[in-house]
Every structure is written in C-alpha cells, then in structure tokens.
C-alpha cells in the first residue's frame, strides 16, 4: 500500500464518516440509527489503522483496536440490549423539517472547513484535510442532539460527537498520547454505564424516553 493510496483511502473513509453523520441526522428508526453509528465507528477504526500504517506510528493500532472494541462492538451492543429491554425498538421518531436540517448540516460543513483553514496551512501531515471533516462530524453530532427529542437518539448524537473528536485527534496530530486516549476511552465507558442507568430512570419516571416530557424546570415568571 503506497503512501498516496493510503492518503486517498483515508479521504474516502473521511467522506464515509461524514456521510454516516448525515445519515444519522435524518434516520428515524432506532435500530437503523444504531447500525449507522456502528458503521461510523468501523470507518473510524479502519481510518485510524490506515493512518497508523502510513505514518508508521504504531500506537494508532492500539487506538484503532480500542475504537473497534468500544465503538463498533461494545457500545452498539449495550444500546441494542437497552433498546430491547426498554421495548422501544419499534418507535419511529418524528423529525421535523428534514431539508432544513440538512441545509444547516451543509452550512456546518462549510463553517468547519473555514474554521480549520489555518491548521490546514500549518500542518504537514497527510491527514490535514480530514480535520475539517472531523470538526464537521462533531458539529453534526451537536446538531443531532439539538434537533432530536429522544433520549437514546441524543446519546447516539453525543457518541457521534466523540467519534468526531477522536477523528480530529487522528487527523490533526496522528492521535493524542496514549495515556490520554486510554483515559478518554475509560470516560466513555463510564458515560455508557451512566446513560444506561438514566434510560431506565427516565423511562420509569416519565413513561417515555421522549425528552420533551422533561419540561418541569423552567424559569418561573
């Protein structure tokens, strides 16, 4: 595998990650959403391995395996079990105004491109151009958390944001130091544990995982 080929492959994977981010933004069905998330993790993991290979930085292999284990296998599995236990796999979310959401998404991609311009100029790495995609993935995850009203969907948006951050670290610097990446992975695991508990609490308290039900705490007038 030559360097140029690796760079091209990495660009394609970046595009796929962006594509899954967009697809998640408008996917209504729970399981399909979860599968998209797993795909995104898989692309991320492959991309990390490709970058690790091309850049000869072997600690990226560990990150790649870690991503594969956590984001592709463990987290989707946990969410799958939760969705089944909470009996929400048939739920279809209503999403308002898909075209507008998509247009905002496109605007966010352009914004990210603009924002990362100084970095692209300074960077000498082969992954410098994918940083814009990484930031866009973060932004799209954020957008998903804002536009969607279901607790599980919001969490998937949150995790997609984490994917984007991880991708950003790989793109900008060939990965953070190992100790940081391990710590971040640990934090995500704890977070997974916590939102798992949360789903049950919300479901038993509100009889639904729709976060619009949660509107008690407002500023009183």
């Amino acid at each position: 595998m030559s360097y140029a080929f690796a760079a091209q492959l990495n660009s394609l994977l970046a595009a796929l990650i962006l594509l899954t981010a967009f697809a998640m933004l408008v996917q209504r069905r729970m399981y399909a959403l979860l599968h998209l998330f797993a795909w995104q993790g898989l692309f991320l993991s492959i991309s990390t391995a490709v970058v690790g290979f091309a850049a000869q930085s072997h600690h990226l292999y560990i990150s790649s395996v870690l991503t594969l284990a956590i984001k592709v296998i463990l987290l989707p599995y946990i969410l799958h079990v939760l969705i089944r236990k909470l009996k929400i796999h048939r739920e279809v979310e209503t999403i308002v105004n898909v075209p507008t959401t998509m247009l905002i998404g496109i605007a966010l991609v352009i914004f990210s491109y603009h924002l990362t311009a100084p970095i692209r100029e300074l960077s000498t790495l082969m992954t410098k151009s994918t940083l814009a995609v990484a930031l866009a993935t973060v932004m799209l995850g954020l957008l998903m958390m804002i536009t969607r009203r279901h607790a599980v969907t919001q969490i998937i948006g949150f995790l997609a944001m984490e994917n984007g951050l991880f991708f950003a670290a790989t793109s900008a610097t060939y990965g953070m130091p190992l100790v940081v990446e391990l710590g971040v992975a640990l934090d995500i695991l704890i977070a997974a544990f916590i939102f798992g508990i949360f789903f049950f609490h919300i479901n038993t308290t509100f009889d639904s995982l729709d976060v619009d039900q949660m509107a008690r705490l407002k500023e009183e007038d």
């Binding site: 091209q8 660009s11 595009a15 962006l18 594509l19 967009f22 496109i106 491109y113």
Partner: protein, 314 residues
C-alpha cells in the same frame, strides 16, 4: 484499423435502439427470478413493441398536434441523447458538440412535452400525472446538475467523453467527491427512470402512478414509441452512470478490436447493473409521494457534499 468516428456514432445509436429493450427484458427477468416467478422471455419487450406497432392508433377527439407529435419528439430526443453518452467509445463527434448539461436539457425537453401531452386530452389522470412529474422534476434536476458539477470539478470539464477519460485514470473511485456524486446519481437515476421507490413501472393503480398516468391515453405506434423511449432512457441512465463512474474498458483508440472488446465489457457491466437495480428495487418499498421530496433532498445533499469534499479533501 481505425473506424471512422461517424461510423462509431452510427453503431452506437443502433446499439442503443436494439439493446435497450433487451436490457429492459433482462431487468424484468432478474426481477422475476428474485421473486421466485417464472419470467417471460428475454425478447418479450421486442414482441410487445412489434405488437403495438402493428396496431391502429385510437386518438381522442380533442387531441391536438401536441398530443400527436409528442411520441416522435420524445423518441427522437432520446436517440439524440444516446449519441452524446460514450457507450462503446469516447470518440464521438456528438459528444464533442454537446456536453452533459445539454444532455440534461434534452431529457428536460422530452419530459416537458410528455407533461403537456398528459394534460392535452383533459382527463384527470393525465393532469395529475403531469403535475406529479413536474413536481419531482423540479427537485431532481437541480440535484442532477449538482451531481454532475461534482464530477466535472474532478475532471475539470463538462464533456462526457472528457469525464470518462479523466476518471478512468488512477484510483478515481476512491475519490470522495466521486463517491458522493455516485450516490446522488443513483438516487436521481431511480427517480428519473421511474423505478421503485419513487414510481412503479409495473402498476396502473390510480393513486400511485406518475409516469404511466401521463401516457394513459396513448395507443398503437404512439405508445410503442413512448415505451421504447422509456426503455432507452433507463438504458441511457445506466450507461451514463457507467461512463462517468466506471468508465474502465470504454474504447478510446477507435479501432475495431477495441470497439468489440468495449462492447463486451459494456454488456457485462450492464448485466451487473441490471442485477443491482433489481436488488435496490426489491429491497425498497415504494414511497408515499410526499416522501419523495426527502428522497431527492438527500440526493441533493449527497451531490453538495460531493462538491464540498472536492474542496475539503482533495
């Protein structure tokens, strides 16, 4: 031995005219297999066309010249479009004079007259079909142009022959802009050729049909011409996709041996695309018409992302 470009052009038009019904038959055959039915013969579309040509035309009393001339116009325009797309060779005189934007315009002319003809008789179905067709077209055409711009950014040209030449060099299919454009193109092609999930070519159910509703009043050779044009349109969209995204094997030298091999490779690709088309059609259910806007919205999104990723990633 060098074949004269005009001769190539001529061969290609004949290939288009006679391979299009064959391809339609092939798609129908694979579809029947996939659903576990016995299929009609591969030559059935030819027989259908022959039958229609031999029948008399029944015209409505109030049909105007538009209604009568539309079949010939649609047929002619579609054949002309077939002269632009590099099917077996990139060395086409017509391709040099008309680029991909002209191609889109040609299809638009055909659609415009079909829609007019649909309204001409004044039946409610025709008008409904026309209005639906135009609604969809207004969304599909910008998306189509965006997808084409994404590719032409990469190939730095809007000429189809030039695109095919540029894309066939290097690992182009790994280029994200092309991958996005391909996705957008698939969605648009499904819409434009009236396949599931947007329209169902096999149904005459009042509430769901779009294209069939417009041509409900046609009979005899008029219907034959329109049906033939429709098969060619499907064929052309598939070959257009192949020419832009998978052009490997299309002859560039203009020799007889090259043309023959190009013809064989194209047949193979078409065979595979037919299976792919059936897979998509069986995998998806027909959408409600109001969901088509989202469908085409995502096509537009993919095309835009293709353009953006050209700037961002390449």
């Amino acid at each position: 031995m060098k074949v004269h470009p005009l001769l190539i052009e001529l061969i290609q038009v004949f290939v288009l005219l006679f391979a299009a019904p064959l391809f339609a038959g092939w798609v129908k055959m694979v579809k029947c297999w996939s659903q576990g039915r016995t299929s009609p013969s591969l030559l059935q579309p030819y027989r259908d066309l022959c039958k229609l040509f031999s029948k008399d035309v029944a015209l409505a009393e109030n049909a105007s010249w538009i209604f009568r001339s539309t079949p010939y116009l649609v047929f002619g325009v579609t054949v002309l479009a077939g002269g632009i797309i590099p099917i077996i060779s990139v060395d086409l005189p017509l391709s040099a004079t008309a680029d991909v934007i002209a191609l889109v315009a040609l299809f638009a002319i055909a659609r415009f007259f079909t829609a007019l003809a649909g309204m001409d008789i004044g039946t409610s179905f025709g008008g409904m079909g026309s209005s639906r067709e135009m609604t969809i077209a207004s969304l599909a055409e910008p998306a189509m142009l965006m997808a084409i711009f994404a590719v032409s950014l990469a190939s730095k040209s809007t000429s189809l022959s030039q695109m095919a030449i540029v894309v066939s060099q290097g690992y182009s299919i790994l280029r994200p802009s092309l991958a996005f454009a391909l996705l957008a193109f698939i969605l648009i092609a499904l819409t434009e050729t009236g396949r599931v999930p947007v329209d169902n070519p096999a149904t005459h159910l009042e509430l769901t049909m779009i294209h069939e509703a417009m041509i409900l009043e046609y009979s005899g050779r008029h219907l034959a011409l329109i049906e033939w044009a429709k098969m060619m349109k499907l064929f052309l969209f598939i070959t257009l996709g192949i020419a832009v995204f998978f052009p490997w094997g299309i002859d560039a030298a203009g020799g007889a041996a090259g043309l023959a091999s190009s013809f064989l490779i194209m047949s193979l690709k078409l065979g595979i695309s037919g299976v792919g088309l059936v897979l998509i059609e069986t995998g998806l259910a027909k959408m409600r018409i109001f969901r088509v806007t989202e469908f085409l919205g995502s096509a537009f999104l993919f095309a835009t992302l293709g353009m953006l990723s050209f700037f961002i990633l390449e």
